[in-house]
């Protein structure tokens, strides 16, 4: 068995409690000394990486592997099995109305693998037969219509990259630091290439009432028959009725076979399993825009129809719950996005927001889409407070936590787009903190 800590090659499974403290300490010393070592529990296996060690020929070089077609639908390497959507324990009481978070700390670039897109259901995951699925468009229209998936696939389509962020992303952090990793602080955030029919086209086909048709009701076909009001301006601007995600049909978790996509707007409005669009002249005040998904303000009133997700960013590496194992060069990287358009600039601070330097934006930088930023950093081994701050094309600047609280208090649940602080301690341990 060929084991190496740094190459991640096969490590013999051994329960943690089989390791004595001295084994861990010894491994740590060797590790911190920069030597590339065999996994502590493995017996004297040569490592496979560079650094003055002898390279050996591993098993996989001496074998004929499984043939083509062994995995008709490919899966990530089994060594990637830690990279999963996860729930935050105790957050919800029922699996059917719950949420799982995207492991942002483990992802690269801007596209979220479809199987890792965060999940949020209100009545479990429906299994919809696309042949039986229908989309109805009616209300203030000249001719109500019902579309099959065949009809929708025949209409002219567009593909665009957009983020989807739940309005409650980072909700747990309004009052204080509450969860350990970026998966839980920011993981109700994903980004995909979506393909579908522009909603404008469907509305025009229906002969919608241009004078009085100010709002749309979107409804899902799941057991929650979830409904949200959408402003007609967003609908006519860049909204789409979407059937594909990252090159394949939508995943069931993301609304198979059809969902609404209103770019830049909070996740709850991106109604999944979309079955009905009704044009109307006033908002509906549905449960999901009054009893839930309304922002509780310091004066005891609720702010309603808070659609837009304002500019926000977060450093994903290094981030809470991680350990920086060596001093010296590390690339700081993270994500920035805005529901109002493109990201114009991202700044990074390593001293808790006192001084900032501009980060590099990774191309492509697209509207209402995740933008990856990167920042070269030499960790001197001392304490640091890492922050990132997004500025979008409207000039809006992502606020510090205290600036946000001054206006909105700490109880609004939704739309926490504050600057995130990660504290790096001398031992390299990174934790979630808030600073003023």
């Amino acid at each position: 068995m060929k084991d190496s800590l740094l190459t991640g090659t096969r490590i013999r499974p051994a329960p943690e409690n089989h390791l004595g403290e001295e084994v861990i300490q010894a491994a740590r010393r060797r590790f911190m000394g920069g030597a590339l070592i065999a996994g502590a529990a493995a017996v004297a296996a040569p490592a496979v990486a560079a650094g003055g060690e002898t390279l050996d020929i591993p098993d996989w070089t001496r074998q004929l592997g499984p043939g083509v077609g062994t995995y008709p639908y490919g899966m990530p390497s089994r060594y990637e099995a830690n990279v999963q959507r996860r729930e935050s324990p105790g957050l919800t009481r029922t699996k059917q109305s719950s949420v799982s978070f995207t492991p942002l700390q483990s992802l690269f670039g801007i596209v979220t693998p479809s199987g890792l897109h965060f999940e949020r259901y209100h009545a479990g995951l429906p299994e919809i037969d696309p042949a039986q699925h229908r989309l109805a468009i009616h209300g203030l229209v000249e001719q109500p219509r019902v579309y099959t998936m065949d009809d929708l696939l025949r209409l002219p389509s567009e593909s665009r990259f957009h983020f989807v962020e739940c309005g409650a992303n980072t909700a747990m952090e309004w009052g204080n630091s509450a969860v350990p990793t970026v998966q839980y602080t920011h993981g109700m955030l994903s980004c995909s290439e979506y393909t579908g029919v522009p909603l404008k086209l469907l509305l025009e086909e229906s002969g919608y009432d241009r004078k009085n048709g100010k709002y749309l009701l979107a409804e899902g076909a799941d057991g929650a028959a979830l409904t949200r009001t959408v402003g007609i301006d967003s609908a006519l601007d860049d909204a789409m009725v979407v059937y594909a995600q990252n090159g394949e049909m939508l995943r069931p978790e993301q609304g198979y076979p059809l969902r609404l996509l209103v770019p830049g707007v909070q996740g709850i409005s991106q109604v999944k399993w979309l079955r009905r669009l009704e044009v109307g002249d006033m908002p509906w005040n549905t449960r999901e825009e009054s009893l839930q998904y309304a922002d509780f303000m310091p004066d005891g009133r609720y702010r309603q129809y808070t659609w837009i997700q304002e500019a926000k960013s977060v450093i994903t590496t290094p981030s809470g719950g991680q350990v920086i194992l060596e001093k010296g060069y590390h690339q700081v990287t993270g994500l920035a996005w805005s529901g109002r358009g493109r990201i114009k600039r991202v700044d990074v601070s390593v001293d808790g927001g006192r001084n900032w330097r501009e980060a590099t934006l990774q191309e492509p930088v697209m509207s209402k889409c995740l933008t990856r930023f990167r920042f070269d950093w030499n960790w001197d081994g001392g304490p640091a407070l890492l922050q990132s701050r997004a500025i979008d094309e409207t000039g809006y600047v992502q606020p510090q936590m205290n600036q946000l609280r001054e206006v909105r208090g700490t109880r609004s649940i939704y739309h926490n787009n504050a600057i995130q602080t990660w504290k790096v301690a001398k031992d390299g341990v990174v934790t979630n903190v808030q600073v003023s």
Binding site: R93, H138, Q304, G353
Partner: protein, 346 residues
């Protein structure tokens, strides 16, 4: 009633408000013919089963009626198990209590205290409740349950009966408790928080105002097993934890799939059923039944998987699967030999 009417004092008066019949009738742009015309024209009548939304002005409310009196029994039978007899259970959402408390120092955020339009309650119960059987209630039942939930909140008296005329006229105590977040409703809306893009010596003290409370540490499990164990920045609450996770198998330990899944993934199930009919090869429970008592079976089968061969079950040979890692072959054989005849995986 499940609760004596006067236990919470006098009934509130039902305040009626006549909402001016809303919305001028639609003026439809005339004569715009569709460019594609795909999909089928449909009548509003054909859409009736789906068109269930109810607006604050009452548009969409169905015929029928129901009152507090009738609502109690339905509530007890279909709702109380999850929401509590008084709507007090916080298992999911608290349905009752706290009315009038939102502006106080200790706001109680319940369905009743937040509700701004009774139509929303009707609409939601109608479309989504009971949770375990959505859209199973009759319209009369939904009217009755709406009345009853309002009654549990002391918003109405026990003699209330609701129908499409009266329901939208009810004024909720929190009717004025909502306002549109205009700045968030369009891309060029005015943001409520304006932060400067200060670059040097900004007014941040660096003082730590909050860190992860000790009490929630560990609540999210072993962080080291929630990220890939590669690189010089790894997940884990300490270097030792990172190390222990790697030594303990890191990803590998949790990566192990169930043997049946493995058999599926590597193609065994193309020729073998786990239980039942013979495909090209014997079903695995047949194999188990034949060899389970034999001492050398494990070694023999491992050798067969490595070398392949025919004769034990027929003319058709078992192909060599020596390309699979030895550990996988061992797991498969151990599983096959322990697969109970029922086929349930051990």
């Amino acid at each position: 009633m499940s609760r004596s009417a006067d236990s919470r004092g006098a009934f509130r008066r039902i305040v009626l408000l006549v909402i001016a019949s809303a919305a001028a009738s639609a003026t439809l742009a005339a004569g715009t013919s569709p460019r594609f015309g795909f999909g089928k024209p449909v009548s509003e009548a054909d859409l009736a089963a789906w068109d269930i939304d109810v607006r604050p002005d009452g548009k969409g409310l169905p015929e029928g009626s129901g009152g507090v009196m009738g609502g109690e029994a339905i509530y007890e039978a279909k709702c109380a198990s999850c929401h509590g007899s008084f709507g007090e259970s916080n298992e999911y959402h608290v349905l009752a209590g706290g009315v009038g408390s939102l502006k106080s120092a200790h706001p109680e955020r319940t369905t009743g205290s937040k509700l701004n339009h009774a139509t929303t309650l009707f609409d939601y119960i109608h479309r989504a409740m009971p949770y375990n059987a959505p859209q199973s209630l009759t319209d009369d039942e939904v009217y009755a349950l709406t009345a009853y939930v309002l009654y549990l909140n002391d918003i109405v008296g026990d003699d209330l009966v609701l129908d499409r005329e009266s329901l939208p006229k009810l004024v909720m105590p929190n009717a004025e408790g909502f306002y549109p977040g205009v700045g968030f409703m369009s891309v060029d809306g005015e943001p409520d928080v304006k932060a400067p893009a200060c670059m040097k010596n900004c007014p941040m003290s660096g003082e730590e105002t909050s860190s992860l409370p000790e009490s929630v540490r560990g609540a999210h499990g072993n962080l080291a097993l929630q990220s890939r164990p590669l690189g010089y920045i790894r997940q884990g609450e300490s270097t030792a934890e990172v190390q222990a996770a790697v030594a303990g198998g890191g990803a590998t330990a949790v990566a192990e799939v169930a043997p049946e899944t493995l058999a599926e993934q590597v193609g065994c199930l193309a020729c073998h059923a786990v239980v039942g009919t013979r495909k090209l090869g014997p079903s695995f429970n047949e194999v188990q039944a034949r060899y389970q008592a034999e001492a050398g079976a494990r070694a023999m089968l491992l050798a067969k998987l490595e070398a392949g061969g025919a004769g034990n079950w027929g003319e058709m040979p078992m192909p060599s699967v020596s390309y699979l890692p030895a550990t996988d072959r061992e797991r498969l054989v151990d599983w096959i030999l322990s697969t109970p005849a029922t086929g349930a995986t051990p």
